[in-house]
Structure formats: C-alpha cells, structure tokens
Amino acid sequence: MTISAQKAAQQGRRTSLARGRSRTAYLLLTPFILVFLAMLVVPLVYSGYLSMFKRTLVGGETFVGLQNIISVFTDQRFLEGVGRMTVFFVVQVPIMLGLALFIALALDSGRVRAARASRLAVFIPYAVPGVVATLMWGYLYGPDFSPIAQAFKAVGLTPPDLLSSNLILASMMNIVTWEFVGYNMIIMFAALRTIPLESLEAAQIDGAGQIRTALSIKIPAIRQAIMLTLIFSVIGTFQLFNEPSLLSKIAPNVIGTSYTPNLYAYSLAFVNQDPNYAAAVAFVLGALIMTVSYVVQLRGRRKVSA
C-alpha cells in the first residue's frame, strides 16, 4: 500500500481514531505524570507549606506566613554558603567542562592512540559513588602520609595542608572535577559523533586544521550538548552535599554546618531540629537554582545569536 492510500484510508476514520489515540497517549503518560506529581511537585509545594510555620523546642508551632522565607534571604549563613558555591561554580565548572570538551574533541579527532581505552579511563570515575570518591580523596589529602604529601616530602618540600581553610574549597573542586569530567565528556563526545562527516570533510577541503575545525564547526554543532552539561553543573554545584558532609569529618573546623546551603538545610532539620526553617531554606535554594539555570540558558542563547 502506498503512503497516499494510507492517508486516504486514515482520513475517514480520523475523528474516532484521534480520540482513541490521545486516550492511548494519556494512558502511556499517566504513570509518569503521577509519580512526577507525587515526587516532584507535591514535595515542592509541601516545603512551601511547611516553611510557613515556626516551631521552637519550647513553645511549639505557630503560623508565620512568609517570614521564614524572607529571613532566608538575610540569613548570613545561607548567604555565605551561596557565596561559596558561586565561587565554586565560577572556578570549577569552567575547568571541568573545559577539560571534558578538550578530551572529547581530542578523542573525536582520532589523533589519540588507544582512544577507546583512554575514553573509558576518563569515564570510570562516574561509576564511583561520590561517597567513595570523597573518602578516597580524603585519605589522599592527609597532610602527613598520603601519597601527595609523600611526593612533596620526597623532593624536600613542605606538603600543603589540603584540608586547611585556604585550600579546602579547591580540594573539593578537585574531587567534583575528578568525578564528573568523564560524564560530561561522554555527553559531548556522543554529540560530536553525530556531526555529519560531510561538513567535516568540507572543512578539511578548505584546509582548516584540527583546531580551527573544532572551533568553527564542532563546538558550535554541539552547543546544545554543552548547554546541557552546563545546566547539570549548575544543579550539581548549588546542591553540593556529599563532599562537604564527608570531608567535614576530617576537617571539622574548616567545614561548618552551613558550609553549603544544602548542608545547612540538613543540619537545620536534623541537628537544630527545625524542619520548618529547613524547608524554607530548601525552597529558596530550589528557586535559586532554577533561576540560575534559567539565566545561564538565556545568556548562552544570547551569545550564540550575537
């Protein structure tokens, strides 16, 4: 049967069919939408609701409206945490994504020996749980006997205290970079693989070298993939928890209970026993992350269209 015949046959039954088909579509969608509402939307709303109460150890619970949310915006500890994460984002994310992009481009250029093995080597940390990665790096950062310290001592230098207040943020950036370069690299690499050979060949005929091809053809072509990794990085950075939480056990004076906003929300809920204010912090943090992601997207677009 030809396609036009199909279309004709279809035409007659369109209305009843369309109804049946959208019923099927809804049927297929419903399970996802249900858990989506239950696990994403309801908790979001619930945290907003909880944040409208204040509970103290003495005196119990009272309704305070938006007061908690408002005080989050002037909460020194919260703002310091956000500030720290902003520094983290500005410094670490470009390094991580730059490294990922470089490796992806290098592998895609076909100029690397044992490319497949090196690709897997770079990707493997992604399969390592953040908890394990942090425990491991925690040992590697030890000021006395870790391989890093041993290497410094071997050449007669004083090893830096990677867990001191000056360096802890950088140490954390290193852990996150180690964990996620591979993941971002794979997304970019996969995108590079779908660039049609013809456009690359055209560039080659024009006499463009590898670097120029990368800059003028490949990077623009995978702009969307890069944007995706950037958005994931915004989300990942601002809700950082595992790394500071576990490192605080070996650097307890450097990483306080409000080192990151998420750590703050956690200790508010479980140490200070103030789930209402914790909900307010979580709510504001969520809104903040969405705003930053949105701004990042907007700027990314503007850059492209300019």
Partner: protein, 301 residues
C-alpha cells in the same frame, strides 16, 4: 530542527575511524593520557591500599605494596564485620538501584513514546513542564519529601528510597528524542492498518526499537540511585536497610567517633573498593548500548 538518524551517525563514525586512525598525534595522545592518569591513579591507590593492613596503610608509600599482603584479611573483615552486614548493603543497593532504574525506564519509555508519536491536548505544555523540571534540584527536594514521608510512615522502608528515584525527567526527554528517531512512523501506520491496537504497537514494535535508548536511561538511573547518599541517609534509620554508600560512610564515621569505637580504615578502604567494582563492570559490559543511546539524545534539545 534537524535530526540525524542514528544510522548515519554510526556510519560516519566507522568511516571516519578508518580514515582517522592513520594519523595519531603524539602531543594529543600524551595530553589525553595525562588526563587519564589523573582519573586512574586514585583508583590505583585504592586498589593497592585495599591490600594493606591498618598500620601499613599509614607507614608505607601509597603506591607500593605494604609489608604484608592483607587483601584477603581485609575482604574477610569487610564481609564479616557486624555480622556480615556489608553483604546486606550490597543486596540493598542492588535492590534499590535495580528496582528504581527499571521503573524509571519503563515510565520514561512510555512517556517518551507518547510525546514522540502522538498528538494530544496539552502536549506542548506538559512536555515543557517536564523539561523544565530537569532544573529542580532533587537533593533540595529530598528534605520535604522526607518530612512528607515521615508523616505517612514511609520512612525507614525501601520505598522511601525507591519512590523518589523513579522520576527521571531527563529520561523522558532522552526517550522522546530516541523514539522520534528509532521508531519510524511507517511501521506504526502499517501496524495500525493490520488492525493492531495502539498499546500492542507500542509493546511489539516501539519497545524493541527503543531498546538501546532504554539501556541508556536504565544505566543512568541505575548510577543515580546506586551512588545516592543524601536520600537514603535521611530516609533510613535501620542499618540493615542501608545501601553501600550510607553504610560505608557510617563505618568511616565509626573510626572518627569517641568512646567504644575502633579504627576501621583498612576495612573502609577495602569495602569502598569492592563497592565500585560492580558498576564499572556493568558500564564496560554495556558500553555499546549506552554510548549509542547517548549519541542519539545528546545533540537534540
């Protein structure tokens, strides 16, 4: 918007590989392998350290073997400490990650297919909401979810970890792109003319054609739950329900707590090493699937 079929992508890849292989560059190779070393060395350290006793751990060079080869002692202590709870943690991790990844994949496949292959009222709006929700910070949601669950008596059950992990908006997005690409409209039309119901078309033609995409979504959902720490940390109180991440962190903190505790470093290190092996194996084993799945999804937004 231009879609490249996965077919083209794969073909151009193999063509270019053949051509490209001829001219490797020393500089690029060295740079990339230097990066690879950065990613591998810590893991090498972990592997070597898991063969050391507690005292060798702190007295011998990090990348050399210790005075005694204690790997088997360490493995034994990992699996026997606290009545062998580690094995339970492995089981729990497999259960939580496997179950939620399966459900997440099923939900994302059905929803992605619906978005790709049907027109229905509110489609654009619903998809926009789902896509936008990728930006919701899940960790920040874990706290309200916990408070909600504790009101419902769901905390300290496997469901408390599984339920929040089955929502994967990114999975839906990926499956929509993948379904658009890999399930030709002609196949669906032909099946309709043969009198197949819509649902049976989905199961008989849609699902098999979307399989590589499903593997991708499954793997990434699996990793997300396998590696999750925050959610099980706040949801679970019974150590018999812990997944590996929370259990290992607890062992580590036992070494760092006051009275009545013990130094467990070699046990923690060996346990950590054991815990990362399964995922690495799964990734290596299934790499063909997830890489092609990602290739289809990553460019098209």
């Amino acid at each position: 918007m231009s879609f490249f079929s996965t077919e083209t992508a794969r073909k151009s890849k193999s063509l270019s590989d053949v051509r490209r292989r001829k001219r490797t560059s020393k500089l690029t190779t060295v740079l990339v392998w230097a990066c690879a070393a950065y990613f591998l060395l810590p893991l090498l350290w972990l592997a070597i350290s898991s063969t050391k006793s507690n005292s060798d751990l702190f007295s011998t060079f990090g990348f050399a073997f210790g005075n005694e080869f204690a790997l088997f002692d360490n493995i034994a202590s990992v699996f026997t400490f606290q009545d062998g709870v580690f094995l339970r943690w492995v089981g729990n991790t497999v259960l939580y990650a496997g179950t939620s990844a399966l459900i997440a994949t099923a939900l994302a496949t059905a929803a992605g297919y619906a978005f790709a292959k049907y027109d229905f009222g509110g489609k654009a709006a619903i998809f926009a909401v789902v896509l936008g929700s990728i930006m919701i910070p899940l960790t920040a949601l874990a706290l309200p979810t916990y408070l909600m669950f504790s009101g419902m008596g769901l905390t300290n059950t496997p469901w408390a970890v599984i339920l929040p992990s089955v929502v994967s908006p990114f999975g839906v997005f990926l499956m929509r792109v993948y379904a658009t690409d890999s399930v030709p409209d002609q196949v669906i039309e032909a099946a309709r003319i043969d009198g197949s119901s819509e649902l049976s078309i989905f199961f008989r033609f849609g699902v098999p054609l979307m399989a590589p995409g499903m593997v991708t979504v499954f793997l990434f959902a699996l990793v997300a739950t396998w590696n999750n720490y925050f959610l099980p940390l706040i949801m679970l109180s019974d150590s018999a329900l812990y997944p590996l991440t929370v259990g290992l962190a607890q062992w580590q903190s036992m070494s760092a707590a006051g009275g009545g505790s013990q130094a467990l470093f070699s046990t923690v290190i060996t346990g950590s090493f054991i815990s990362i092996v399964p995922l690495i194996v799964v990734f290596l084993y299934l790499q063909k699937f997830w890489q092609s799945g990602l290739a289809a999804g990553s460019v098209k937004e």
